[in-house]
Symmetry: C2
Subunit: 558 residues, 2 copies
């Protein structure tokens, strides 16, 4: 195992650092007419433009060398081969097997996992088709109109994001998602639902996650109170879990339990039975297209040379900003309202994977690891935080995601001109996306701002007063990911692209991207605090004075 800072490519990057800091996008585009074609990649019908990054040929080559010297390829190959690359948990990392359409076996400890993957997929198909066709009935005989997924983290963010993203394809029951242990989340969701036509999917591998089981218990109470019979539970609850005993005790028949495997990490689980709400909402066939799109990206990742390998290129660019230049965050801005939870999904994927200060060798890393990932859809962000992206002192690389065409089946509801209105609005969306990337990269100089103000009729003191505030430094990097339309297949490729990018970065930083020990301590402490908040508990002992004081204050206020 390597120390990133000992690698020759890192040292060469450090030697180039002054040049990298001086790099100027205006000059780079002026000097190199091939820049646009040189720094772009095509994947199927998707175009990834990374020409507006702070790279020239030598810098880019060094970043790829860094990935190579960090043995990204070896780790990648070990992942696909089913080796236990999650070293702190001793587990294989095989979400790629869930979408493997290659016909190749995937071996874990010598056994091919593909037959069991196929069996579960077939069960998901049958079940989702039964619910969607109305063959599956609720306790009173009514068909299902609404499903409520109760899960948290990976059992929520992925399927929730996908269901929102694929709204254009939603032709099944409405999908709702309850995650937070805050009782308002469940109660506010149930307030609009009919127990006779509602199906709950309880998603918890262990069937013991505190939030999920708390909400599942309350949902069960709601159903039984409304339908007046404990026997209704089995017709309105199914489980995505591996704990058959607990599932049965809850009142769910094992036939309605869908399992997965310890080589599927929570944040990579939407491709497994955790994706059941997706299959219910848009149909199993489209869920399959999502898998196909992800598999296509897997094949690209495992076979494309590093310089033409999308996850490697995007991962390496992140290292440029996070490590060489020391920036702290990364914004992902979909110009697509239906991707409004894409960044929330990425937050888990990226920050839980690479938010680590200990390396695979057990040593404290001596370099920065994962960035803060954040963002909201455009154009909304333009009217919120883009001020800082353009004129703040914090530098933030941005990923823009945008479709060339709208996916709107219902344009006719807007009247005879409906399609023209939709196309006009979508064109504005595109124009804004491109304009933001252009503005970030090239800015507006002092001289340009002066000319503009003079044209507006300003002069003298008023002009000089305003001028510095109208300057945009530019040189702020972004990627544009452009695809024809947001389809299940394209979405699958996009998600897989980010999964592998995160893996590439973890390899460079030499962290175990597949564990999450950092979530344990808070959970344990919550277990200690919970009984101390009970109305009849004795005053809290232990803890620090602040925690004790807050417990005391809550008991006075509650």
């Amino acid at each position: 195992m390597h120390a990133m800072t000992d690698l020759p490519a890192w040292q060469a990057l450090m030697a180039r650092r002054a040049a990298i800091e001086r790099f100027d996008l205006r000059a780079a585009f002026a000097d190199d007419p091939t820049r646009w074609t040189r720094f772009q990649l095509r994947f199927e019908d998707m175009l990834v433009d990374y020409s507006k990054h702070l790279i020239d040929g030598p810098t880019f080559d060094l970043l790829l060398d860094l990935a190579r010297q960090a043995e990204v390829e070896a780790l990648r190959d070990a992942m696909f081969a089913g080796e236990a690359i999650n070293i702190t948990e001793g587990r294989a990392v095989l979400h790629t097997a869930l979408r493997n359409r290659s016909g190749r076996p995937v071996l874990v400890d010598g056994a091919d996992v593909m037959p069991e993957v196929t069996v579960v997929l077939e069960r998901l198909r049958k079940f989702s088709e039964a619910v969607r066709s109305g063959a599956w009935r609720g306790f009173t005989g009514a068909a299902i109109t609404d499903i409520v997924n109760i899960g948290i983290g990976g059992s929520d963010l992925g399927p929730h994001m996908v269901c929102r993203a694929l709204r254009a394809f939603a032709d099944g029951p409405r999908a709702h998602f309850v995650s937070n242990v805050d009782p308002a989340h469940l109660v506010d969701t149930l307030a609009d639902l009919d127990p006779r036509t509602t199906l709950f999917v309880i998603a918890s591998k262990t069937f013991s996650t505190q939030e999920t089981m708390t909400n599942a218990g309350a949902a069960r109470a709601w159903l039984v109170a409304a339908l007046g019979d404990e026997g209704a539970v089995g017709r309105h609850f199914v489980a995505v879990s591996t704990n058959e005993q607990a599932v049965r005790t809850f009142g769910i028949e094992p036939a309605n339990m869908f399992g997965f495997w310890d080589w599927v990490g929570g944040r990579y689980s939407l491709w497994s039975a955790i994706g059941l709400p997706i299959a219910l909402a848009v149909g199993f066939e489209r869920f399959g297209e999502l898998l196909v799109g992800a598999h296509a990206m897997d094949e690209h990742f495992r076979s494309a040379p590093l310089a033409a390998n999308l996850p490697v290129v995007l991962g390496a660019l992140g290292v440029l900003y996070g490590n060489v230049l020391g920036w702290g965050s990364h914004a992902v801005i979909p110009y697509d309202q239906r991707l409004d939870r894409f960044t929330a999904h990425l937050q888990q994927l990226d920050m839980e994977s690479n938010g680590k200060f200990v390396g695979r060798d057990g040593q404290r890393v001596r370099w920065a690891t994962g960035p803060v990932v954040w963002g909201e859809p455009g154009t909304n962000g333009q009217h919120a935080f883009f001020q800082l992206l353009h004129q703040g002192t914090r530098r933030v690389p941005v990923d823009f995601l945008v479709a060339a065409r709208p996916s709107i089946a219902e344009a006719a509801m807007l009247g005879p001109e409906g399609m023209a209105l939709v196309e006009d609005a979508h064109r504005k969306l595109l124009a804004n996306c491109l304009a933001q990337a252009e503005a970030l990269a090239f800015g507006k100089t002092h001289a340009e701002a002066r000319v503009e103000l003079e044209r507006q009729g300003l002069d003298g003191g008023r002009l000089e007063h305003l001028l510095p505030h109208k300057v945009f430094e530019g040189n702020r990097p972004s990627t544009v990911v452009l695809y024809p339309e947001l389809t299940p297949r394209r979405l699958g490729s996009l998600i897989a692209l980010y999964e592998h990018k995160v893996m590439v970065q973890g390899a460079i930083w030499n962290v175990d991207s597949f564990d999450q020990w950092g979530v344990e301590l808070g959970k344990a402490l919550a277990g200690e605090i919970l009984p101390e908040l009970a109305p009849d508990a004795p005053p809290a002992v232990g803890h620090d004075a602040s925690t004790r004081g807050l417990i005391d204050a809550i008991r006075h206020l509650a």
Copy 2:
């Protein structure tokens, strides 16, 4: 005007920097039994615990000295006095007048604005009561069941956030919000609505915001197509605007137009007529309570000594992390699902206000300004990005917001044990919130982790292998804001707290927190690109090769 780095307090902070970097929360709590009471503030029934910050007495005093030397108080007083502290736009900054309940006049250029504020409030009261009571009817004679606010940025984020936050009090028409120019946003929202019972609120000061007018036009087409009569527009559309001519042309009677003033910035406008959706959803009386709560915070801000002044204290702590220690972002994590858009609102408030590299003196600042603000509700965040907060190499101060009691009127729907289930879930929410703050601050040492692993039966190589990954460094600061229950009044105080905190920081950084020139360039470029995307446009010229290439690619794909 000052340069922050020239102030004596800044230089004293720099001299203390090594001590600040060595500061240890475990030792600080062990050494000072008064720490919990010393570093907390009460505001009405709200408790703000800032004892888990990396401060001791001398550091804290220097931070307050910095605020004092930066003349925060003078700027604050000038703001309340109606002076044109938005110097680049030459405008007063008087969102505080919108909620002024003191009876004191507020003078702008010698004229008291309070009478016109009162007139508009009275018009909002009458109109919202008419809609809520059913006295206002749609074109077909049906009462209004749903309102759709069409606005973006400040005309969306504030009222949207508040309507979600006050869901427990929602007893009027359902409120929907459409902001994005992406046509999917409007179409997906309208798909569930009935034109006969839907009222649109078009919120755009100038009535020319591209996104808002595009969506308003499409909404108008939907309504007219469904009701078959242009004359229906006046019964289903109202405006929050000052452009009477454009409003009238759209088909809205001036009697149904609600105005505001140029001393109300977009990101501070929820207290104005922009708050109409709030009054419609929860009633004008509760909208009034929101204003009362904000006013109470205003009075605190203008009168409390700096050391006991909440916005000043929280603002100064942000300077400690952003400037003295050089951290780049700030997380706001409400342990309250209904505050799920609180951080999105803060993103605009904070990043649009202080994401500036030019000072009030027109010079490029030589220090960092506003941070990246981000976050999602807890407990959800625990299952997503908390890994990085606990064990990442990026340090992020966190604000936790949490209510001691749930606000759930409908617990009975969960059956006879409904209230017990709600209270149990809410207690888990609280326990997790406190536990996260405790874990961040105090961590788990190498020795503690070893004992724990030994207790779990591990030893030898397996223990040594796992041990470093189980260590939490701790010393990660957070604030806990605790209040009895999330009421309109309390929410008003919370929002105003952050408004003033942002103002304090802008004063220290010497930026104009009230302009937003950084949003202009992208808008202008979008205007150039839009016609170039038309199917029949000639190939784009100008721009850079990347922008031209993307335009070309879109035209091929579209």
